[in-house]
Amino acid sequence: MSSTHEPLRILLPAAAALLLLALLTLLSVGSRSTELALLDRMQGSLQSYELRDTELTRDALLSRAGLLPNYDPLADDRSAMRAAIGQLQQVVGEASHATQQALQQPLAALVADQQAKLAAVERFKSGNALLRNSLLYFAYVGPALRLPLQQQALAARLGRLSYAVLSFLQSPTREVEQEILSLLAAMEHAPGGGPDLDSLVAHGRLLVRVLPRVDQQLQAIHASPIGARVQALREAAMARGAAEERLAQHYRQGMYAASLCLLASIAWLLARLRSRALALRSAEDRLRRQRMQLLESNKLATLGLHLEGVAHDLRSPLQAVRSSASQVARVWPGLQAAMDRMAASDPALQLDDMPWHSLRPVLESLPDDLQAQSAALSDLAQYLLDFGRPRAAGQQAAFDLNKSIGQALRLVRHSIRRRTDRFELQLAEGLPPARGDPFALGQVLVNLLDNALHALAGRQQAVRIRTRLSMHGGLCVEVEDEGHGIAPEHMARLFEPFFTTKQGRGGTGLGLGLSRAMLESMGATLDIASTPGVGTRATIIMQAAARGPATGGNDGQH
């Protein structure tokens, strides 16, 4: 994964989630639709308005019938209607442009009709007050006129007038009106009538004039199309409400879809987060392991550094032991002859409580043994010194492969004995000298052997070291074990630095990678083949040196 793509892969879904969230908010705001609540309020206002309008009409009718004590109820209705229409106008004013467009015209029509109706109501009230007053006057004055007996004609006219007014109240026809007016004309300024009669005539004329007008106003009030206007407005509001509801429905559907997308993207992000956390944890584990391994290898490196010093320190006393041994060997035949002579003269001659004749064969081989063993020790010290000495990469020399192997094995002799009863060394005879650094090869072998020994499950499992001539003229060293083998999934990582399956058991994970690097620097190769449960074989192919045959093989068994 390239590092330029990495932030993009995180940012893109995060941006998408943010975008979805914004969309969701937008949709939720849209779906709330204050418009619907507004239209609801409007329907409420319309209802109370219509109720008041109905009451106004009813109160006008009651007033005409004389069944309302005063005009306060009509005034209340009027104020309530004006307040309700004000409320309606305010609600529509708060509404969206679309709603205003839809309701403006029916509302304007309603307002106009209301104005007309309220104006008609005021005229009706004015006329009705006069009408009722004149009727009251007829009721009050008519019968109270004290007419002298000789005014029989006038009295008769008065009677006819009363009945004519009564029937005019029932049905204000043109004929009755004419009759009343002609009666009033005849009574006007009648002798003996007086001011009361004149007032009566005036009220009669007013009555005839006002009554048709009042009833006309009443009819106008009754026929006012406010009910139809309210209905039209209500239907327009309902249509708007339905449209708003549809829109809100769309918003809700959009909201649902956006929620799903958001959920999916969040789930995806969570999954990514989790995988990243896991990767991070394993990386952390690896790092910790590597650090411990580094410490371990550092310890080994320190040890290696001191190894040289120790070997160096060992060499000088060993040199002294060797020269002492050779000195002893030199003087030994003379010493032996002298002792033999003494024993001939004294058969009971004893050394360290042992008789000379039984001590002599034991002592006989002692100087040679001493010399051989001190030489071997000296060799080992020299090998350790060379083994630990820092080398230039790819140091090339011709060397005897088998001999080098034998020397290296001395370092791990004890480990081998501890782990297996079946260590087999099969060294081919007559190999050409190898080219490279024998000590580096020794290191690699120690390493491979160490791995092989650790793979064993028991002492009966074998570890083999084999040398042979390879097919292309190279020299082949095989280290083979019958251990548990390497899991296929680990095969690919064998040569990675710090890769180890011997966690906590002394493995540093540096071995194979370093081994291969060391071999490659001298032109050699290292390959590992393994079958789980059967065993592992490490194969080293060395280049042969150009010329000069080496000495023959070492002893077959170690």
Binding site: S48, L51, E55, D59, L62, A65, G66, L67, L68, P69, N70, Y71, D72, P73, L74, A75, D76, R78, S79, R82, A119, E122, R123, K125, S126, A129, L130, R132, N133, L136, Y137, A139, Y140, V141, P143, A144, P195, S199, A202, H203, L206
Partner: protein
């Protein structure tokens, strides 16, 4: 709920009205007896008592806003030249009127109408003599703007009020929006609606205190009803809820003072031919202390006003004695404000 309650009381009123109408019909059938016997009239009047309704003893109002409105009402700051306040033409200690035939214009030239009282305007349906407005804040705004009255520019008013820390504080306490034209008008209207004069002797009579009216006043009440005054002067405010032509039976232009132009009344406001000479029927509450009378203040005394009304509106020539009784009755309509009976301007 409010509507339901209102409707039930209204239904009760209708039922009682029906009884009164039946009583009137009975009177019409039997004729003579009713007319001459004031006691009978009064008895009939008890049945129809809801033609006039007593004023409530108190009205609900936000006290802080009302107090602020009261301060504004009396503050000359509301007039452009600072020479007058609302209270200049409507002094509360004198029946809420200035006692002049016509209000004084601030420029001294414009010809205005008689100042109506500010008392009990909460129960009026219309404002002004021509009933041009039905909303109190609208009416107040008109008065404020009218160059002949306060001549105040709204922006200027706001500037003046905001300059005064005590107004700033009072408005901030009463209104979330602080000082604004709408809030000034609301405070004024709130205060003006509290100007109620309950407990007139007649209201006490209506509430059942029969001794509140003496015989003369009772007789006047009977005439008030039987002559037909009550046809227009009815309801809680004894008028104020109706428009009527001034001069039903007679042309009233003769009563105008010489040199004064004709006031066409509501026609000025509506432009409707039918509204010529039409004026608001004023409330008769406190009428005894609000002389002179009519839109142009043409009647200096109450008895002259009653005589004119009887003649031009009712087509009657009412005898002196009856007018005196009616005037006596009208005297019982004077109510009390802040515990004191209203008095006429000096």
């Amino acid at each position: 709920m409010g509507i339901v309650a209102n409707r039930s009381t209204k239904a009760a009123a209708v039922r009682r009205g029906l009884l009164a109408a039946m009583a009137a019909c009975a009177g019409f059938a039997h004729g003579a007896a009713m007319a001459r016997d004031e006691h009978d009239v009064v008895t009939a009047g008890v049945a129809a008592v809801e033609v006039i309704v007593p004023l409530p003893r108190s009205v609900p109002a936000d006290p802080a806003r009302a107090a602020l409105g009261g301060r504004l009402f009396a503050d000359p700051l509301l007039s452009r030249d600072g020479s007058r306040s609302c209270a200049s033409c409507h002094p509360l200690e004198h029946g809420g009127v200035d006692g002049l035939p016509r209000a004084r214009a601030s420029d001294g030239r414009a010809l205005l109408r008689n100042s109506p009282t500010v008392f009990n305007l909460a129960f009026d349906l219309f404002y002004n003599w021509d009933g041009a407005t039905e909303s109190l804040p609208t009416h107040d705004a008109r008065v404020l703007r009218n160059p002949a009255l306060m001549g105040m520019d709204e922006q200027e008013l706001l500037v003046r009020l905001k300059r005064d820390p005590s107004y700033r504080q009072a408005f901030a306490q009463c209104y979330p929006g602080g000082i604004s034209v709408g809030n000034v008008l609301d405070a004024l209207a709130t205060y003006e609606r509290t100007l109620v004069t309950p407990d007139s002797r007649f209201d006490r009579f209506l509430r059942g205190e029969r001794s509140a009216l003496n015989a003369e006043e009772l007789r006047g009440y009977g005439l008030f009803r039987s002559l037909g005054c009550i046809a227009c002067h009815q309801g809680q405010n004894i008028g104020g809820n109706l428009l009527q032509r001034f001069g039903v039976f007679e042309d009233t232009s003769a009563g105008r003072r010489a040199g004064e132009p004709v006031d066409y009344g509501r026609y000025v406001a509506t432009g409707d031919e039918a509204d010529r000479e039409v004026f608001r029927v004023p409330s008769l509450r406190n009428v005894a202390v609000t002389a002179p009378y009519f839109h142009d203040g043409r009647a200096p005394t109450l008895s002259m006003a009653v005589a004119t009304m009887a003649r031009v509106q009712l087509g009657r020539n009412v005898p002196e004695q009856d007018i005196a009784s009616i005037v006596a009755f009208l005297g019982t309509l004077t109510g009390r404000y802040q515990g004191r009976e209203l008095r006429a301007p000096q």
